[in-house]
Symmetry: D2
Subunit: 116 residues, 4 copies
């Protein structure tokens, strides 16, 4: 069972769910970091496919089928990302906070900005 | 400032941070769904680059530079994913839970499995 | 009509065919370099999908459906690549020869090698 | 040496050059179809990177550095594509012609079109 002590919106919660899902299906031999990275790239392409011929991809350019497809593909990307980070031993949320801090140095905010 | 009422590990927290970051730099005109989807795919490729010539990508095949690079690229993928979902009006965590439920129907667990 | 003075195996021949194909369907407004680059990446992902869970992707690991799919996806990648190069004003074959020469400097052959 | 009986603009010519290049460097163990497909996707992303924040990627939006980068990345994509097709035993040009014929059925030309 997934650990229910994690916050309902947390990445650790999704990690627990995906671990259990893969374990129940004996997918460990397939879930090498290399394979998961490939699977991740395939899901990103399925996401891109919805946007490739559109001007910008804003909501007004989409129909309901595209909206649902985008929702599902965003989820697929996240689920493979969580699994790849898990196999790589990376705490995704901590890594994201680190990267935001690095980006803030690389792209300094203009004067008057409130972040961070 | 990001909303500090969200759980510390949550996707909503990262969404708040990335919104502020982009707003402070006036990046909204560039952050169309289409452009963010392309940026996402570029970051995924930078992640894949670490694995392409390795047998499986497990930790023993990596050196410290690769480990750090993978950590940073995983973060970059997550940050663009969060921003794309935000622009698309998708709650990433809710969408992921929906997709796990759909996947459980598509790939039924073998008898005796405890999930979901 | 495609120019029949080009060699039968040439990239210029494919360029002529793809130009005519797009022109007959009024696809020019969609075939911006940016859109073609996205379409190219989608086709590459459809190719990758055939290999993602396989050990190495050598012929013995494939069935006939995979072999046919790989053949078609390789073709799709080439056709979008030819069209993108055409829009970008790049002679693909000349660019490839230049890149091979640059690669030969970057990765010098070991002593005794006959190339280039 | 590459076979000089192939037409100067041909894909078979590039295949001969890339075979020799890889052979001289003993890269065969790395050049599995799976690895080449990953390398191909990385090169496509490096191409996409030039277009991701531009409106359409037409020449007027580019500077000389971008033009050169695009030329080199187009070449890299082609070279990996040629190598992957070679490992997969696929004649790229023949496969492209087949796919054009299939596409002509899938997307019939409007009345009056001269193709194919």
């Amino acid at each position: 069972m997934a650990d229910m002590n994690t916050p309902p919106d947390s990445l650790a919660h999704l990690r627990a769910l995906t671990r259990q899902f893969a374990q129940d299906r004996d997918w460990a031999p397939f879930h090498t970091p290399k394979n998961l990275a490939m699977a991740l790239s395939v899901e990103v392409a399925e996401l891109i496919e919805h946007f490739q011929w559109l001007p910008t991809g804003v909501d007004a350019e989409l129909d309901d089928a595209a909206r649902l497809g985008i929702r599902h593909e965003l989820a697929d990307v996240l689920l493979y990302l969580v699994q790849l980070a898990d196999q790589a031993g990376v705490d995704l949320h901590a890594a994201a906070l680190e990267k935001i801090a690095l980006n803030a140095v690389k792209y300094p905010p203009p004067p008057g900005a409130v972040y961070p």
